[in-house]
């Protein structure tokens, strides 16, 4: 039986944080948006990390299935990536003229990502999804953008909804929302808004929060591609979350089509801060004409880390490893649930699986089980997809399943 953790130092640190930082820990890493239910079950601050683990400020170790919400793909502090970063740091990072390592990184992405003829670098996923939308509007001279319901493309006003704090009606006035996997709906909006739609933006499959993840229906992407081409609309794939966990050549390649623009971040440099927009040749001049930059966007250390990360991922055939490990974990968890009489649904591609205990539609049972797992050293989250990293071992997976069983036993007793 595993120790049941408590988090007094995490809570003390959070009280300290709340005094000087809005909401203590804001965004998806925080307890509110992160759905830490109950908050006492979860660590709130990390002390250090290595491989597939992180340790919290109370000294507890966690097998981490959130991987910093995606960036950790090879394992925390991967020696090859860190060494490449260290060497570049000695040479220079944020300098007046950019390092040629930026060109090396762009060349590597063009050689790796099937739909990439060029690469533009920034810092976060939001930077490049926003650039993709601005570029689509600049190229087409149109305003409207089509989204699939359940999407997440960042936090810029255009990505949010009319009822979000700080968003005004005009920010989202040109957004059109249609259901995922509904090619007929897309065909309809193209007919209703002829010559008005600048871009269709989508994640490679529906990995929205609070819902079972849904893969594209057969022929869906090919139909979307065809409609975009016929209507001179830019097809943008937001591969920020799934990128390099499905296919090194891009998730569009995995599903058998080609995007016009494709956005990467998270796993691109194993935690070093860089994002990239890649795209087809015909969009390159439009991007060149845009005023879009940032203070740290050409820092060399993340480029060096990104090169080492991508080369290592290619050498390992990382996406397949992650899909296999995720599949192994999925089978173990589903069986453990069934042994205790529960119906655990695991959806999405196994390298970024989503979980839901289907026995209770209110999800309270699911939340209770997740809390018991976290309290025993497996960091799952309630309503977001999870992430597998390459450092995860068979022993880690076995221990995870063992803890999942203990957690099922705990909720059964309650």
């Amino acid at each position: 039986m595993h120790e049941v953790y408590t988090h007094p130092n995490s809570q003390a640190q959070f009280r300290r944080a709340a005094k000087v930082i809005p909401s203590g820990v804001y965004g998806h890493l925080g307890p509110a948006e992160g759905c830490f239910i109950p908050v006492e079950a979860f660590p709130l601050f990390s002390d250090h990390a290595k491989g597939s683990y992180f340790w919290d400020v109370d000294g507890h170790r966690y097998i981490d299935y959130m991987c910093a919400f995606g960036p950790n793909i090879l394992g925390y502090n991967d020696p090859d990536v860190d060494e490449a970063a260290r060497k570049q740091r000695e040479k220079g990072d944020c300098t007046t003229s950019p390092s040629t390592v930026m060109i090396d990184f762009a060349e590597l992405l063009v050689d790796t990502v099937k739909s990439a003829d060029w690469a533009f670098f920034a810092k976060n996923g939001n930077d490049v999804t926003t650039l993709a939308i601005m570029a689509s509007r600049a190229y087409t001279h149109r305003k409207k953008i089509v989204f699939f319901k359940g999407y997440y493309h960042g936090v810029a006003p255009w990505t949010q909804k009319i009822d979000y704090a700080g968003v005004i009606e005009e920010d989202v006035a040109n957004n059109i929302y249609i259901p995922w996997n509904d090619a007929a709906a897309l065909e309809r909006v193209f007919a209703e808004h002829k010559d008005e739609i600048a871009a269709v933006i989508a994640q490679p499959y529906m990995h929205g929060n609070f819902m079972d993840n849904e893969l594209p229906a057969k022929g869906f992407w090919q139909k979307v591609r065809k409609l975009c081409t016929e209507n001179d609309t830019v097809l943008v794939v937001d591969d920020v979350r799934a990128g390099f966990r499905l296919d090194m050549a891009g998730s569009d390649h995995y599903f058998g089509f080609e995007a016009d623009l494709i956005c990467f971040c998270k796993a691109i440099a194993n935690g070093y801060n860089v994002s990239a927009l890649c795209g087809k040749e015909f969009m390159k001049n439009t991007i060149s004409s845009m005023s879009y930059t940032g203070s740290y966007w050409m820092s060399a250390v993340p480029f060096a880390a990104g090169i080492a990360c991508i080369e290592k991922m290619k050498k390992l055939n990382c996406p397949q490893i992650l899909i296999d490990k995720g599949g192994q974990l999925k089978r173990g968890l589903v069986k453990a649930a069934a042994d205790y009489g529960y119906d655990l649904r695991v959806t999405g591609v196994p390298s970024l699986f989503y979980m839901r205990l289907a026995d209770d539609p209110t999800l309270m049972l699911h939340q209770a089980w997740i809390a018991e797992c976290v309290k025993r050293g497996v960091f799952f989250t309630n309503h977001h997809n999870h992430f597998i990293n390459a450092a995860l071992t068979d022993a880690d997976i076995a221990e995870t399943v063992e803890i999942a069983r203990e957690a099922f036993e705990a909720i059964q007793k309650k």
Binding site: S23, G24, A32, E33, A165
Partner: protein, 251 residues
């Protein structure tokens, strides 16, 4: 931006809708009413209509005003909102013989309600007053959420994302209520259904009061354990977005 019609629905069903609770928990309200019995109907053209029926020290509110003793017709939501602000004086179209009730009882009861909903710092220094005031505010806010979700353009957008079910709202050792959602239309229930689908619980009256007064932030308070959320969190998330708009209408 505030919408006059939405505000009229809030004023009717959230603000005046708090009178039945006021009668229950504030002894002074019962004293004002005494043994009187009467009903006051308010009909707003292009807006809400409801009747407050007073009897035996209690009050109930019902939609519509077909059977009221006193009827106050208002020509528009703006005029009704003016009546609540005290800038418009309504003229009864029915029940002239009951005018003393309107002027001596009903007006005093609504003045008392205002005192509890817009309390002074001095009033709040009294622990019992503060508890009653917070209980009343809780009810007003819960009912206002329903009206905003059903009438305000942005609130309706939030409601469009709320799945069917009941969101329990509660203050530990205090009042509770439920926001009911069916086909993205919201309803209010003073009684929380046994099978609610999500919950938002405030740790105590003090925390609830500070949140209502905008002194603390709900997101940070979740992290501190002062607000508990669970179940279908997407319901709570969207109710919270509507809750954010309550201050726009009631501040």
């Amino acid at each position: 931006m505030r919408d006059a019609k939405t505000l009229a629905y809030i004023n009717m069903f959230a603000v005046l809708g708090a009178i039945p609770t006021l009668m229950e928990i504030v002894p002074e309200a019962k004293t004002i009413l005494g043994k009187s019995a009467c009903s006051v109907g308010i009909a707003v053209k292009g807006g809400p209509s409801a009747t407050l029926t007073f009897a035996s020290g209690h009050c109930v509110m019902k939609e519509g005003c077909e059977d009221c003793a006193i009827k106050l017709p208002l020509g528009s939501p703006e005029k009704f909102n003016g009546m609540i602000d005290g800038t418009v004086t309504p003229i009864p179209s029915r029940g002239f013989t009951h005018l003393p009730f309107l002027l001596k009882k009903f007006m005093k009861i609504t003045d008392l309600l205002s005192q509890y909903l817009r309390p002074s710092e001095e009033d709040l220094a009294d622990a019992e007053f503060k508890k009653r005031s917070t209980t009343l505010m809780f009810g007003v806010i819960a009912r206002a959420i329903v009206q905003i979700g059903n009438h305000d353009k942005v609130g309706m957008a939030s409601a469009s994302y709320i799945t069917d079910g009941a969101v329990k709202m509660a203050i530990e050792n205090g009042p509770s209520a439920a926001i009911l959602c069916k086909n993205h239309h919201l309803g209010y229930s003073k009684k929380v259904p046994e099978k609610f689908t999500s919950y938002m619980t405030f740790a105590d009256m003090e925390t609830a009061r500070d949140l209502f007064d905008g002194k603390i932030n709900s997101v940070a308070t979740v992290g501190l354990g002062g607000v508990r959320i669970g179940g279908m969190v997407s319901q709570v998330d969207n109710v919270n977005r509507i809750l954010d708009r309550v201050a726009l209408y009631l501040a």
